[in-house]
Amino acid sequence: MTDPAQKPGSTMIGPFLLLSAADNVLVARESAAEGTEVPLEHGPVALARAIPLAHKIARHDIAEGERILKYGMPIGIATEGIPAGAHVHVHNIRSAYTPTHMLQDADGVSAAVAQ
């Protein structure tokens, strides 16, 4: 049977992985420094911030309300417009099921995003 979650069939794009052709996010397969140039389809983009291992960036511009696809499957909904190459995480996507609970660091920034 075909199950996108089973068959990543992943493609490397710089230090990132495209897990399924339908995805609009890429996953870091190593920590990528700020300024790293990533060859996205619509042209190269320099990372605005460091992206830790296994975090996600936008493969292309994503509109507010658009579904986020990873493994070819929906993993959440964009809560704001996300430009190509930007970090995609708890600050700009939400669950379609139960809200994600995070710890805040002392400065009020989510530990998950600030890492």
Partner: protein, 396 residues
């Protein structure tokens, strides 16, 4: 591979004497008894609550008659509600040596510890006489859990565990995956894999139940560390967790304590039935591992990204590290480095094969990292379940 043959025909890969406290008030005394045997296979389990609970009683029965267990010593304070007479009868009926010590009658802490250690010494001699007979992979029950998940878990560790499950199911083993609360968002694709449409409906309903349960609690099965590790939502975590089930058809839906009747792939429904009564379904990873063991798991695969060091009482835990950075940091606790997949050094298939081979080696007696380090974690808390429905275990 050889197993210790029990009277019910099941075979164990370990031959443990278990000391079980029946209320927190007896925990210390039970642990003192166990600490007298640092070199022998004597392990501590127990239930802390003073109020009775059908689930806990059933779990304790299943754990104390688990094929890896050779003998059982119950340690009671005396006034707790746990039905120790019934529990002792269940173990006795299984052909195992069993004894119950009641602290209030035995004369106190030191007296009970002395009596307990004397009994355990005799029990060790008795379990050493249990025959070891040839055992096949098709007689193994294997569980899988993931804990401390991050964005690597779904790319390397869980797919590799899934590959190992495919190999083991192919060899006739019974494999169990779990945590319906971490399958939210996967219910439709999972239901399509059921061997009957009725089972598919039951699988879908089990995830819907989990979704309702967690919605009432206000938290998904999602910890702060999951987000720090790159996971943004419960459905993202779920899709990563789901792949540890592999590609095999799903043969059944069981609840904690139900033993798979034959080889195949089973989902364990760990979310209680009825209204939310006793809090979170499983308060930590070991609660899930204990439920796998109660359903007969001889050993468990534990996939982690952020890192975990736990093992378990009764059944060994094989730890599979999905994240190459975590592996370098915690290699002394990890059995398998699935991070190789992320670094492009090995394929998912190669790591899956390594896991399958390690399962067989551990079943044949090799120690896992957590076993060698002395980890024997155990936790059992309150829950309530209805029995599984008729569609959950279709005839083969």
């Amino acid at each position: 591979m050889k197993g210790w043959l029990r009277q019910d025909g099941r075979k164990g890969i370990r031959n443990t004497v278990v000391v079980a406290y029946l209320v927190e008030c007896a925990h210390f005394v039970a642990s003192k008894i166990v600490s007298g045997f640092p070199e022998e296979d004597v392990q501590l389990i127990g239930f802390p609550g003073c109020y009775p609970n059908e689930y806990a009683a059933r779990m304790m029965d299943r754990l104390c008659t688990h094929p890896n267990v050779g003998a059982v010593l119950f340690v009671s304070l005396g006034c707790e509600s746990f039905d120790k007479v019934r529990a002792s009868e269940a173990v006795s009926a299984s052909g195992r040596p069993v004894k119950t010590l009641v602290i209030q009658k035995a004369g106190g802490t030191a007296s009970t510890v002395q009596m307990g250690r004397d009994w355990v010494r005799d029990a060790l001699a008795q379990v050493a006489e249990v025959p070891r007979v040839p055992m096949g992979v098709d007689e193994l029950v294997i569980g899988t859990v993931c804990g401390g998940s991050d964005g690597t878990s779904g790319i390397s560790g869980n797919p590799a565990a899934g590959k190992a499950f495919d190999l083991l199911v192919g060899e006739g083993a019974a494999c169990i995956f779990e945590e319906t609360g971490e399958l939210i968002g996967c219910e439709e694709i999972m239901a399509e894999r059921a061997v009957t449409p009725e089972l598919g409906r039951a699988l879908r309903e089990s995830v819907q139940k989990a979704e309702r349960y967690y919605a009432t609690l206000g938290y998904g099965s999602f910890a702060a560390g999951n987000a720090a590790g790159g996971l943004s939502t419960i459905e993202e975590k779920s899709l990563g967790a789901y792949v540890k089930s592999g590609d095999s058809p799903i043969s059944g839906l069981i609840k904690p304590g139900d033993v798979p009747p034959r080889g195949g792939l089973y989902l364990m429904d760990v979310v209680p039935d009825g209204d939310v009564r006793f809090g979170f379904p499983n308060i930590s990873d070991n609660a899930e591992i204990v439920e796998m063991i109660a359903s007969g798991a001889h050993l468990s695969l534990f996939v982690t990204g952020r890192g975990s060091v736990v093992g378990s009482a009764i059944s060994p835990v094989i730890k599979i590290c999905a994240n190459p950075q975590t592996y370098r940091n915690l290699s002394e606790d990890m059995d398998v480095n699935a991070g190789d997949v992320i670094e492009g050094k090995r394929s998912i298939e190669e790591v899956g094969r390594e896991i399958r081979d390690l399962v067989v080696a551990v079943a044949a007696g090799a120690q896992t990292k957590s076993e060698a380090l002395g980890h024997r974690e155990f936790i059992l808390t309150y829950k309530s379940f209805e029995p599984i429905g008729p569609a959950c275990l279709p005839a083969a």
